[in-house]
Amino acid sequence: MASTIRVRATSSGETTEVQALIQHPMDSGFVKDAKGEIIPAHFIQQLTFEYDGKNVFTADWGGGVSKDPYVKFAFKGGKKGDDLKISWVDNKGATDTTTAKIQ
């Protein structure tokens, strides 16, 4: 199956800018379907970006984050050609992970 994580990381001297788009329904658990039944909560609980063995960005999410979340941040360091590892875990225990090269 195709990865749910799209990521682009660009290094400019001292900092690396990261953008990621993650495909996930992010159901809050408060919305009802057409039949009037609650759509069960299904959302990413933790998202991590790892560089050189360390977490450079960690997100602890709840149901308030919208579908297909977009994240943008920058961290100090990061060299062109190095790996950046992204992983997420959701409330159902599902996970996905991908590794991108810093450009």
């Binding site: 799209r6 953008q19 788009l21 977009y70």
Partner: protein, 288 residues
């Protein structure tokens, strides 16, 4: 006797004058429909109103109206929220039907790079055909169930087709056929007619108030407004079709929506597309 008839004559004259005044509106029935002049006036209205906006930027709707929004949108376009829907659309478009045929068999040039020609007037049928309608007819002609005009699948398909036409100028034709002219005029009338308990017409927001806010949203100008369709709306958390936008807008002004692809909707899409001829296709678009 004389006085009474004089009064009757005067009141008759007054009544006649009132009637004449009432019917002396800017455009009489005798006015010929002139789409070329309409389009010219339409374009001039918006370029005069927003002299700093480049003509081709009008297709970016609210982003062309507000600098801060524009900047945020440019950033987002590097990683557009509609990527997933667009990919799904491409997959759907390429997948053959159960009978072995595919969408490519229904459209000129295999359906690639043709979005800017829709809607068009079908001379055999005497009606306007939109891209959404053409897609569903293709499905039905090949034994497949039609898609809802307001859900994800149709949105994804039209997103892909729009994407293959990105940058191409809108190119709507009105053949020399009184039925085509009537459809165009009907679409124009729909656009300017006020409806719903809130008494809004499309023009109320998109001609009288582009760049201003309605609640928290910045309104888009009508020029080039269909060029960005279909749109990924953050409000919808997903991609939505032209049909979806027309019907939801109707309900928002407390008017009961017509059915998607009813004549009025097809005609207003025809009108809006025609007066935006020459402006580039920017679909699929992203909107707040």
């Amino acid at each position: 006797m004389k006085r009474r008839s004089a009064i009757t004559l005067v009141s008759a004259a007054l009544a006649f004058a009132a009637l004449t005044l009432a019917s002396a509106l800017p455009s009489d029935a005798a006015d010929k429909v002139d789409p070329v002049a309409d389009a010219k006036a339409f374009r001039k209205f918006f370029t005069d109103k927003f002299p700093k906006v480049k003509l081709e930027d009008f297709v970016n709707g609210p982003y062309s109206m507000n600098e801060d929004l524009y900047r945020q949108w440019q950033e987002k376009e590097q990683f557009p929220p509609y990527e997933f829907s667009l990919e799904m659309g491409k997959e759907m478009f390429s997948k053959p039907f159960k009978n072995g045929k595919s969408y490519a068999d229904c459209f000129p040039n295999g359906g690639i790079g043709i979005r800017q020609n829709y809607p068009y007037f079908d001379e055999k049928e005497g009606k306007i055909i939109t891209l959404e309608l053409a897609l569903n007819r293709c499905r039905e002609a090949n034994g497949e169930a039609p898609y809802s005009y307001v859900r994800d699948e149709m949105a994804a398909l039209t997103a892909y087709m729009a994407f293959t036409s990105r940058g191409k100028p809108m190119d709507i034709k009105i053949p020399d056929d009184p039925r085509a002219l009537a459809a165009y005029e009907n679409g124009k009338e729909y656009f300017y007619t006020r409806r719903g308990q809130l008494n809004f017409s499309c023009a109320t927001c998109h001609v009288q108030s582009p760049g201003e806010r309605i609640r928290a949203e910045i309104l888009a100008p009508a020029l080039g407004i269909v060029n960005a369709m279909p749109i990924y709306r953050s409000e919808w958390s997903g991609m939505g079709t032209t049909s979806r936008r027309f019907t939801t807008c109707n309900s928002q002004i407390r008017g009961v929506p017509l059915s998607p692809q009813d004549d009025e909707y097809r005609n207003v899409e025809y009108y809006l597309s025609y007066v935006s001829n020459g402006l580039p296709i920017s679909g699929p678009g992203a909107r707040p």
